[in-house]
Symmetry: C2
Subunit: 398 residues, 2 copies
């Protein structure tokens, strides 16, 4: 039996990012763009704020007039959303609402809490000093017209989408989301809605891997089950419409019945690596096609497959989007550090609140690597080989 040369987790990670062909882009309605990755630069089409904006309810006046008087007659009310009024002579003020444009001729706003109204439409200023520009958010104070609001690779979250709306970018160009197909091999698995024979199990990979893909923003996934019969995988691969990223599970070791690597190579994928020094997940295969399409051969054990997906396939997918942060993890103190080992380990773990800071707790199952053992966990911690550090990288799967 041929032993593959194992590469390190870091080498494998660099390879899946390095071979991530960038997707093309498409315009996306901003109302449905949450989580998408920007593929253009967005510039401010106007300054922000776009006018001298009143930051408090109160009165607008001229500071110089305060040298000679404290009481001002209310000339008019300037609501938010209306064209600016003009302040008349000294002794006058204009009542203003938060968000309104500063009336012409005024240079400060005194907030209502520092005013005393009298009954005859005048206001007395109680503030000892009022400086020019008080409670005015100046034109362009946040951003100049033409400034960069967001760069390609930026994730469209609440902050970015709010800023894009502010500048009228309602159809930003975003990276097209890669199409994904998931092919699960194995004669022992039946679809979850069927009653298995006593010696069969229901397919759990599709549900598990789809959920993790969905949580990472990849919802366009076609699922296929494939038997172990000779030629079955080759026939399926020949028949499948091409997808940007092909994920196969099972049949990826070096045994005689492990047909996935050879089948993927027959289908035109060139092997980048086969075998990573990690547990679980060692027999991972990754290859690319001249067209830019990519393929992973994930282990057949469902927990191993999830580890490989979270650590390699999802970062690869995110790198294909041009995401500037394709790999998302937290580095947190380990509540129960494991003993030393010679290979990188991925252990199911959950986050635990603690007054000194969030910790990560390794959830020890019965070692079978089966899904029910993951129910108390929410992700994996990565423990590099050698002496165990008190902090570890944690990646959630949702």
């Amino acid at each position: 039996m041929q032993k593959p040369t194992l590469i390190s987790v870091d080498e494998a990670h660099a390879a899946v990012l390095g071979h991530a062909r960038r997707m093309d882009s498409e315009e996306v309605d901003s109302a449905r763009a949450q989580g998408r990755i920007l593929a253009q630069t967005v510039h401010a089409d106007r300054a922000h704020p776009p006018f001298d904006r009143v930051a408090m309810d109160g009165i607008a006046l001229r500071v110089v007039d305060l040298a000679t008087r404290r009481t001002f007659r209310e000339q008019a009310f300037q609501p938010a959303g209306a064209a600016p009024l003009r302040l008349d002579g000294p002794g006058e003020c204009i009542r203003v609402a938060t968000g309104s444009i500063l009336p012409e001729g005024a240079d400060a706003v005194v907030q209502v809490e520092l005013l005393r109204p009298d009954g005859s439409g005048s206001w007395t200023v109680l503030a000892e000093t009022v400086r020019e520009g008080a409670n005015i958010h100046r034109l362009g104070g946040d951003l100049a017209c033409g400034a960069v609001v967001a760069d390609p690779g930026r994730g469209l979250d609440a902050a970015a989408l709010g800023a894009l709306a502010t500048f009228g970018a309602t159809a930003p160009r975003c990276a097209r989301i890669p199409s994904v197909a998931l092919v699960c091999t194995g004669d022992e698995i039946v679809p979850p809605d069927r009653i298995p024979s006593a010696w069969q199990i229901r397919a759990s990979h599709p549900a598990t891997l789809l959920a993790a893909l969905h949580a990472a923003g990849f919802a366009d996934v076609a699922v296929h089950l494939c038997s172990d019969a000779p030629g079955a995988l080759e026939a399926l691969l020949a028949r499948l419409p091409p997808v940007d990223v092909l994920l196969c599970t099972g049949g990826v070791s070096v045994g005689e019945r492990d047909r996935v690597p050879a089948s993927l190579e027959d289908a035109g994928f060139r092997r980048v690596f086969h075998g990573v020094s990690m547990k679980p997940g060692k027999p991972l295969w990754f290859g690319i096609h001249d067209s830019g399409r990519s393929a992973f051969g994930l282990p057949g054990n469902p927990v191993s497959a999830l580890v490989a997906l979270v650590r390699f396939a999802i970062p690869h997918l995110r790198a294909r989007l041009g995401d500037l942060r394709p790999d998302r993890f937290l580095r947190l103190p380990l509540e129960n550090p494991p003993s030393e080992d010679s290979r990188t380990r991925f252990l199911a773990a959950s986050l635990v609140d603690h007054p000194d800071g969030t910790r990560v707790r390794i959830v020890r199952g019965n070692g079978s690597g089966d899904l029910p053992g993951l129910l108390g966990a929410a992700g994996f911690v990565e423990i590099p080989p050698g002496p165990v550090s008190p902090v570890a990288a944690y990646r959630g799967w949702a």
Copy 2:
């Protein structure tokens, strides 16, 4: 001007959770159930593993036979997914594949790495000792038939959906997702796809709040802009189809033109609180309707509105789902602790990787509370009043 009585952030949080009427439930196709909250108990419909399962490629034999011989004739091959074969007399073995059912009469599996094949269909066992049960994952070793797989309130992530698939629960009952309407008041705002006048701004709240709601699993949100004209909000509220949770922005202070609280009360919502000792976000209003519907009056400033949404409205929505963890936060070391203050503060922040563990960095804008100042942040840290602790709770908005 009437000053509202401010309650603490913790009191407000307890109130929004305490007044979260539970949603009814519906069956959901498990392929689209990622992120949903389970509303039923799921039991194992069979043991797991459902049979004595072979955990390694190798040969199955009887341990007692090893007392008299090391070489065994390969009687047959037992693939995964096939009915069990029966081991014949001593001196025989059955070659087995990972995932197959243990052949009848066998009580151990020797993995292929510890075997030497000879040319005539026999295998010599190189392992010094083989214990009974070796490389066999026993029937029911993970879970007994009938055991609880998942409880109501459990979030359906990769682990849960994989386990549900394993036990054939392909249409779990989940909490119905609350319908949400977002009503943004203000004469100064125009829809983002329109060219504003010099004294107007584009509405950014809808994009911001929708993105945060979407990221939290609430995608069914109707958006309405509403002018400040007297009666406009009342008319809109009267005309809107009822929703489970109504979110209004702006007009929630105690000024004469702040009509949101009175309008919501006119619409049948009973005030639970108005005003929270926090900045930003102080003028927050929350009320409930006898029907179980709830309403929030969020501040008009977009950053304040996002703080109030993330800290109160989203946990309320998640509590309505029955989520056992309605409020999600990390407690992390502060890279740049702020000075002391008498009110709870929410400061825009981002996560920073550090060899000693992930830290949170406060992102200081220009204090305007405007969205462009959030672009370098990904969430808020919460700084309680009084002496500043070196660690703080962080909530991401996506």
